[in-house]
């Protein structure tokens, strides 16, 4: 509803407040007078009236008043089509590249997600006033700079959609492995990201990367029940209780991957980064035990991912898989080549520590665990790394 009001009135604040007023009116009237025959239509009409009232109150200028009257139409809202178009427009507006990444994340969670400003602030460990200011500033820029409220032009849509997916994946990752704070996982954020992923999938059912991102999040989230031990320690993939994995999410993720495999086979369009990462996760969730993991396929998939994204992080992940196929020494040789760029990244030292341990180089392994422990902000990961370090014999 906020999305369709925003399109009509071209103002996010007016839309948001009008929607809130309509819900408040419903909460007051429906218990007394009964629920109207078409509750959705009632809410939409009430919110539109409230928005017009607000515009009238807020401005004495005739021009704006006229503008509001022109866009006001009495026809009842269509059941689905235009509503979904409006939400898609809203996503592209919230994730506009002219807004800073943190502003995009906050706006998306506020306007498309179900989180309050207080909840978003808590999730990102900032003061509520700070988060409120961040959202207000972003909305002010949208209005003042005339950031358009529409789906981007065909020439830009790929790049802009990639930006939207990046926002959703960032939200998911922050929920899945919180970078700081006392809670190792922020379930509200990963749930919200999956909800946004499902929404995008409804809006853009034919897009491979939209399906890929949703599959990736589902397959990752399926392992959540096994990821932190009762003592609050991170459990790595090879030690997880696979019986605790969420089979329904895995089935849903696998169905999406099968759909994409068939689509890429017929259309010939190569899979993008999210589809490849989803496929890598499917290799893990398909293995009945860690020992059964098809590591050569994982290495091959990371190789394809490297062609799209030769970033040090992707190379690090590939090196870890290489160590499973060719032994820790080969993996270590690849990892050590990344030392310059990834020296400040906790996962680099954690991966290195593990391979050094397996290569029976205890002293170096201990030093690498110390670096990883010092760099991670996640309490469960710190607990896991500390135990591993203290188990070293030499």
């Amino acid at each position: 509803m906020v999305a369709s009001l925003a399109r009509r009135f071209g103002d996010l604040d007016v839309a948001e407040e009008a929607a809130a007023e309509a819900f408040a009116a419903a909460a007051e009237r429906w218990p007394r007078e009964g629920v109207p025959p078409n509750p959705g239509g009632w809410l939409a009409t009430t919110a539109t009236r409230k928005a017009i009232d607000r515009l009238r109150r807020e401005t004495q200028r005739d021009a704006k008043h006229q503008e509001a009257l022109i866009v006001y139409d009495d026809t009842p809202p269509e059941p689905t089509g235009p509503v979904e178009d409006d939400r898609l427009r809203l996503i592209f507006t919230c994730c506009h590249p002219a807004l800073a990444m943190e502003a995009r994340v906050a706006l998306t969670l506020r306007l498309l997600g179900g989180l309050t400003v207080a909840e978003i602030a808590r999730a990102f460990l900032v003061q509520e006033t700070t988060m409120a200011r961040r959202i207000t500033r972003a909305k002010t820029k949208i209005k003042a700079a005339h950031i358009p409220y529409r789906v981007p032009w065909a020439a830009d849509i790929r790049e802009r959609l990639a930006g939207v997916l990046a926002v959703v994946y960032l939200i998911f990752n922050e929920g899945y492995l919180a970078s700081e704070g006392d809670d190792p996982m922020r379930v509200d954020l990963s749930d919200e990201a999956i909800r946004l992923g499902r929404l995008l999938r409804t809006l853009l059912p034919d897009d491979g990367e939209v399906a890929g991102l949703l599959a990736l999040m589902l397959l990752t989230d399926a392992r959540r029940p096994a990821r932190v031990s009762r003592t609050g320690e991170l459990v790595t993939l090879d030690e997880q209780d696979r019986g605790a994995w969420n089979r329904a999410l895995i089935a849903e993720g696998n169905a999406l991957i099968r759909e994409r495999v068939e689509a890429t086979a017929t259309a010939g369009e190569p899979p993008g980064r999210y589809q490849l990462q989803a496929a890598i996760n499917a290799v893990h969730t398909d293995a009945p035990s860690a020992r059964d993991t098809d590591w050569s396929t994982v290495v091959a998939l990371y190789g394809r991912l490297m062609l799209l994204d030769p970033s040090p992080i992707v190379r690090l992940n590939r090196a870890v898989a290489v160590a499973e196929v060719d032994g820790p020494a080969v993996g270590l040789a690849e990892i050590d080549r990344l030392a310059d760029v990834l020296d400040g990244y906790h996962a680099f030292h954690a991966a290195r520590a593990d391979l050094l341990r397996r290569a029976r180089r205890g002293g170096e392994s201990r030093a690498a665990y110390d670096r990883a422990i010092g760099l991670t902000g996640n309490s469960a990961e710190r607990a896991y790394l500390t135990r591993r370090r203290d188990q070293l014999t030499s």
Binding site: K64, A98, H146, I147, P148
Partner: protein, 131 residues
């Protein structure tokens, strides 16, 4: 007041121009001048053009403060920064996406980064003459 949003596209350059003959990024000057001319012509042709010009270096600026009983004059710019406004376009564009496309073209033409800033419109807060 125009209903089409207006944007200021600004190009910044070093406060003191020591070397004549290159643009801020070192693009050869005759080429940059020709490209900027072509870009400005395209703005006119497509109805985006409002105004454009280039400025003398800030070393030629005078800052005037007439708030007190006596008017104070200072030799130089109001803000002392290493880079200063060098030239600018004022364009009309339907929305920010259109303005950003224009700015990218302008940036390639002049060989420098461009700041895109919207003009105040009716309903936006603050008035022109408030400090």
């Amino acid at each position: 007041m125009s209903l089409v949003p207006r944007y200021l596209l600004s190009v910044y350059g070093p406060a003191e121009r020591t070397e004549l003959g290159t643009s801020t990024s070192g693009k050869a000057m005759p080429q940059a001048t020709a490209d900027v001319g072509a870009f400005t012509e395209r703005l006119r042709r497509d109805g985006h053009f409002v105004f454009a010009d280039g400025l003398e270096p800030v070393t030629t600026a005078t800052t005037v403060d007439g708030q007190g009983e006596r008017t104070f004059l200072t030799d130089g710019p109001y803000l002392v920064t290493e880079e200063q406004l060098d030239s600018f376009w004022v364009v009309e564009a339907a929305d920010l996406d259109v303005a950003l496309v224009l700015a990218a073209e302008g940036s390639r033409a002049c060989g420098g980064a461009i700041e895109v800033r919207p003009f105040r419109t009716e309903g936006s807060e603050g008035t022109l003459l408030q400090p």
